[in-house]
Amino acid sequence: MVTSRSRGDVLFDLFTYGFLSALLLAVLYPLYFVVISSISNPDFVNQGNVTLYPRGVTFEGYRRIFADAQVWLGYRNSLLYTVLGTILNVILTLTAGYALSRSDLVGRNGFMLLIVFTMFFSGGLIPTYLLVKGLGLVNTVWAMILPNAVSAYNVIITRTFFQTSIPGELLEAAKMDGCSNTRFFLGIVLPLAMPIVAVMILFSAVGHWNAYFQALIYLKDEGLQPLQIVLRKILIHNEASEAMMDDIVNQAELVKMAETMKYGMIIVSSLPVLVLYPFLQKYFMKGVLIGSLKG
């Protein structure tokens, strides 16, 4: 097919590869810079001497981060909310998505409308807060899990997946054999649905791990705060806990160590997500999201 490529096309390719390479560097470099800064001597970092590789390698920042009770507590809480929340999310999304994918479900258009409408209109922050408070969920683990137990968007994606990838003949054959809906779902549909299960696990887990606003409004108790709230204190409000640096008396040293620890905290908090991502990536590459918009 490629016999005589026009000069314009060659230029176009040149531009495309050049532009995309520059973009990749622009996306990647900030992340890379955080990594090398977190293990470099803060003096080098602050003077701008760390650009391509770490200098004066030290793990002092990480040592202090891991010595801090607040960070561990946040980690534990975030892990708890993520695991519980993801289990609930995935179970509800899959079962609802499957039921709504069945054309023989009487009333399914009405149910869909009920769910889709919430994507476009909501009661807003204050009525939701009053409801959560009225249910007695404020300051409990459940405030981090129940108010976002299902996402309408995820239900739609899952439904579309089932509609397009589970052949109708399978259901017919199973019905002939007297297979119940539950057995059919667990035994035949689920094993075929692993790509969407993986994607839903990823979406839910990342969402819960990264959630901070719910914690901000629903949790007052220090002992319940997730990692993102601890991060907010350290990264944005510059409130490194006393315990982290109580042995440093020199003010300048204190500031320097605080900066190094910020880089370290970014790595420590993003690590679980960045580790999970490559494993699940191949699934959403497969175009699981095709047609997700056709509500």
């Binding site: 097919m1 026009s6 314009g8 096309d9 390719d13 495309t16 590869y17 995309l20 973009l23 990749l24 996306v27 900030p30 992340l31 810079f33 955080v34 602050n46 701008g48 079962t95 609802a96 499957y98 069945r102 023989d104 479900l105 009487v106 149910f111 769910i115 919430t118 476009f120 209109f121 909501s122 009661g123 807003g124 922050l125 204050i126 009525p127 939701t128 807060y129 009053l130 409801l131 137990a149 299902v150 119940s180 809906n181 539950t182 901070y212 991060l231 907010r232 990264l235 944005i236 900066e259 880089y263 970014i266 993003s270 997500v273 960045l274 490559p278 999201l289 095709i290 997700s292 509500g295």
Partner: protein
């Protein structure tokens, strides 16, 4: 009369048979309803109850009396909001950020998807996707934390670059003028790759024969993008545009709130941060519920209007 009866009974019979069939279908599929039940309960409780509760926007909410027991005050809270000096400021800030996003951040992934689709090297394409998707998974707290670090006036990467090029350092995070630019471009950094997924999926559905025929006719790559690729993802673009316009008044609240400080407040106070502060920090629950409702209604109206517009002009629309 006698002649009409058989017909009528026949029709009645048909309806009855249909109903019986529906009942049978419901009975046979009772498990499916059990599958759906928890999700329906969730939406009724956590989404429809607040819609019922939003009536406090028209009441003077008194906690001990509850939502139903509180006295009605009509549009008092709305009037107070429209007359407050904050109204124009938060409206202007919200729209400024939203329109900036729509103009710059919305087209960015479209361009990226069209370029990625032209790549002949599968390996490079995969690498580009892997890298550009990654920031999507980083939390908004971390992204804003990185902004503070990189844009710091003394030790930040960006200012050191500016100084080495002979410019004056800028305290970006304390500047109202820079606020929306930082907000929009850090958003592009985080989401440009992820947002291409939907467009790439649409591009994968383009019939390769079209491209082959175009190549035969001597079309250049640029022409093929313009006349084949772009038109084929136009419906997707329209749908996403309508959805975006339906959230025009809701700029990414969580990120705005994290980026906000006393020095950039002139540009960073948007409707939703104002609702949060007035309602949950200052306890003016009815007043801020009214502002929230005003926001939702405008969003929903815009969605309906733009969907209608798209339908009228024979473009793809939501319904």
């Amino acid at each position: 009369m006698a002649a009409a009866n058989p017909l009528r009974t026949k029709r009645m019979e048909g309806i009855r048979r249909k109903r019986r069939k529906a009942r049978l279908a419901i009975w046979q599929n009772y498990e499916l309803y059990l599958f759906l039940l928890p999700t329906l309960v969730y939406f009724l409780v956590f989404h429809y109850m607040p819609m019922y509760g939003v009536q406090i926007a028209f009441k003077r909410f008194i906690a001990v009396k509850g939502i139903n027991g509180s006295p009605w005050v009509g549009f008092e809270h709305f009037e107070r909001f429209f007359e407050s000096f904050q109204f124009l400021i938060v409206l202007k800030n919200t729209l400024a950020i939203s329109l900036y996003e729509l103009l710059v951040a919305f087209p960015a992934p479209i361009v990226l998807a069209l370029l990625l689709n032209q790549l002949t090297s599968e390996r490079f394409k995969k690498l580009a996707q892997t890298v550009t998707y990654a920031p999507h998974f980083i939390s908004v707290v971390v992204v804003v934390g990185m902004l503070y670090l990189f844009l710091s006036p003394k030790i930040g990467l960006v200012n050191r670059l500016l100084v080495s090029l002979g410019f004056e350092p800028v305290y970006f995070m304390a500047s109202s003028a820079w606020f929306s630019t930082i907000f929009v471009f850090s958003g592009i950094w985080q989401n440009i790759g992820w947002s291409t997924i939907i467009y790439l999926a649409a591009l994968a559905g383009v019939n390769p024969d079209l491209h082959e025929a175009a190549v035969m006719d001597g079309a250049t790559k640029r022409q093929r993008i313009q006349h084949i690729d772009f038109p084929s993802i136009l419906p997707t673009i329209m749908i996403l545009l309508i959805l975006n316009i339906g959230h025009l008044m809701s700029v990414g609240f969580e990120k705005v709130y994290l980026m906000q400080n006393q020095l950039n407040i002139d540009a960073s106070e948007v409707i939703q941060t104002y609702v949060y502060k007035a309602g949950l920090l200052e306890g003016q629950l009815s007043y801020s519920a009214a502002i929230g409702l005003f926001n939702s209604v405008i969003n929903f109206t815009l969605l309906l209007a733009f969907n209608q517009l798209a339908r009228k002009s024979k473009q793809a629309s939501l319904w």
